[in-house]
Symmetry: C2
Subunit: 477 residues, 2 copies
Amino acid sequence: MTDKILLEEQDILNAALAGDYSSSKSLITKLDHYLLSDDRELLREFFMRLHPADSAQVLELFTAEKACALIKFLDIEDQARIFNYLPANFEAQMAQILGRKELAKIVSAMSHDERADLFNRLSPDQQEEILPALAQAEREDIRKLASYPEDTAGSVMTSDYCALQPDITAREAIDKLRREAPDKETIYQSFVIDSQRKLLGVVSLRELLVASPGVKVKDIMNTQPIFGRAEDESEDIADIMAKYDLMALPIINGNDKLVGIVTFDDVHDIIEEEATEDFHKMGSISGHGESITGINFLQVSPWLLIQKRLPWLLALVFVNLLSGAGIAFFEDTIQAVVALVFFLPLLIASGGNAGAQSATLMVRAIATGDVQTKDWVRLLGREVGIAMFLGVGMALAVSFIGVFRAGPEVAVVVALTMMAVVLFGSLVGCLLPFLLTKFNLDPATASAPLITSIADVGGILIYFSIATWLLGIHSSM
Amino acid sequence: MTDKILLEEQDILNAALAGDYSSSKSLITKLDHYLLSDDRELLREFFMRLHPADSAQVLELFTAEKACALIKFLDIEDQARIFNYLPANFEAQMAQILGRKELAKIVSAMSHDERADLFNRLSPDQQEEILPALAQAEREDIRKLASYPEDTAGSVMTSDYCALQPDITAREAIDKLRREAPDKETIYQSFVIDSQRKLLGVVSLRELLVASPGVKVKDIMNTQPIFGRAEDESEDIADIMAKYDLMALPIINGNDKLVGIVTFDDVHDIIEEEATEDFHKMGSISGHGESITGINFLQVSPWLLIQKRLPWLLALVFVNLLSGAGIAFFEDTIQAVVALVFFLPLLIASGGNAGAQSATLMVRAIATGDVQTKDWVRLLGREVGIAMFLGVGMALAVSFIGVFRAGPEVAVVVALTMMAVVLFGSLVGCLLPFLLTKFNLDPATASAPLITSIADVGGILIYFSIATWLLGIHSSM
């Protein structure tokens, strides 16, 4: 009977984890039912069959209160394992509901980097409350890890790494790793330190296993290990680890002492978060102030989103006013040939689109490291060629529409303008990211909306200048 | 003397690896000099001190011919290690220069996934040429791995994993891993298979070490391991590995047989490539046809870039023609109050910008899995609130300009329009990605340029409708 229920549950569970709406609803109903009937055994069984990452995902379907009630029958170790996978803001909500002692027990069983992140999300009162309930070593560890600014190596590293003395043998080292295995983030990379905790080298479990058992650690370790510094940006740390395919990177502080390690699973999160940040900037969503990339998008407050969006919208108003000024300047031309206005949105939008394309390509290539500032001349050359070709293609397309709509004269103006604006937009889109980099600004500031707005201004000036000149309109200004 | 040279070299090298232009030039000159004087010892020493990833980066500064000459004095093993880190297209260029036998030797020493990728980049002639020079097992392995379509798990997995029989003891397993260590991608996760290569379970080296030596592998392995299928999309594989923090994921084929593993270092590349693809799509760069994300952006041919850009530019022309049609429809209104044209770019651009922002947020949130289709109602509600607020803020800003520029009547029109277009743009940007997902299209098709163009059309209709109505202009149409 129980097996049958569990089997049905499995299907619903899988669908719910994949994001199916009605399955999520059924799952909530089912677990609510267990909770109501206080069926500890079924609840425990349910969560014990799940990977802690899945348990965390299931808990997120509920309120923080219910989530606490759902897992309170599990062992502290298992609760801590689930906490390791919960998003920090939900975790903090649950922490507010748990009793001081229970929270302290979970915190002390969590992995060192995750618990420091959780600690940073607690209110000052809560922080004061749980610290006394922790052992002194844990207290200090949490305080230290939680003290590093966001987006630095220090803020993502963990302190539960394996440290070895240089003079022990490979056999002794393996024995030590075996004993420490349950409490360490990884035993596959060990970090060799002296009595001052200065980093002397790195040795992998693979090297220890392959070495003859009596050889000393210092004789097989890599004495020039790649390392990071606690104040380095987490993005740079992720780049290094991805470049050298590292499973774990040692992090040292200002005194060259080993203070933690960053592991490969952190790198995934960093790369994804950085990509999201760049993505947002490209859509002219401000990167300043409180981050919206570290938390689930559904949980971001509307007020925070307004703060991210309004400044750029307002700033772009000023660029767009220049477009208006350009139109005012050419009012006579427009009065003379109102038909020109028909092509205005098409022409300026095409320049903006071509510009957004080339800015997107450049910004991303700079972000991934494919392209460096020195490459600008080479890329500009390629861009000119591409833009000429695109411009001719677009000009051909619109000249037909031009002839049909407003006669051959306007068609020539429109075709020439199209070539010019596509070239103009593409060059702005290609160069602006480099210029920004040159002045130590973020290249992603060259967002699609900014490029589009600049292309609008340029497009208006180009269009009406060509029209005024070719159609022989005399300006009264 | 040599030490001094090496020390100077180190500084130049570090700067060159960080992308400094003049240091790269110096490094090229230095290595050119070694090459010219045929100084094997210095060349060998130079590359032996470098991580193979750095060696690969240095080689990329040169032509493929020179790159081959630079490393030809290294052992085959070391050459293969460098090849593992070279981008596939440069590697293929080098392969064309190397002799058949030498290439075969390098290929057979490379890691299994990297060599299959290289093989796929070779010309059919070259493929035919090197196959006979390889051992039969290698030939089959390469053919198998190279046969999976791009962007599938099969195309990124490697076949040099550790397989264990279920009935051996933990001690025997560790001994086997020790012996196989030099040839395997990882020894930290082993895959337990039966005589048909069916996947029975997974066991980590940590578990083997902690277990008592006499216990059987089958009694400590995880019998319900998370796995992928060879035909799964590599993006999904990366998501699974990131979610569960996996170091290696077993991949099975249609017959449930273990055919390879994907390791954590592949995940970095996949996440980065997927982010680049989405980034590009958001800038309306087509994702169809030959990929431009797998290779260095500097190496992408102009012709390929044109193919990626022109179709979207042309497609958007049609959307933009609707804007022209909208303007034509309101020609009388424009004739009556030409001052309205002054605000046109500002208003339609603001709608487009707000729309690009909300589309960017949605597309990325859908891509990272934060948001699912079922969330659309909830997000639409939030978006309406945000857009109302943004609209009011923007309306206040432009109403001042409106009064100053064209009097209170036009100011009211402009302010009302601003509120309406910001709301319109935001809602289009918020809903279009969901609509596309609903119809199984890529949400990132809701690119900034597409949203901008749609917002332009809507903005023109809204603006002149409000103006015609409020200013009491009688259309002759």
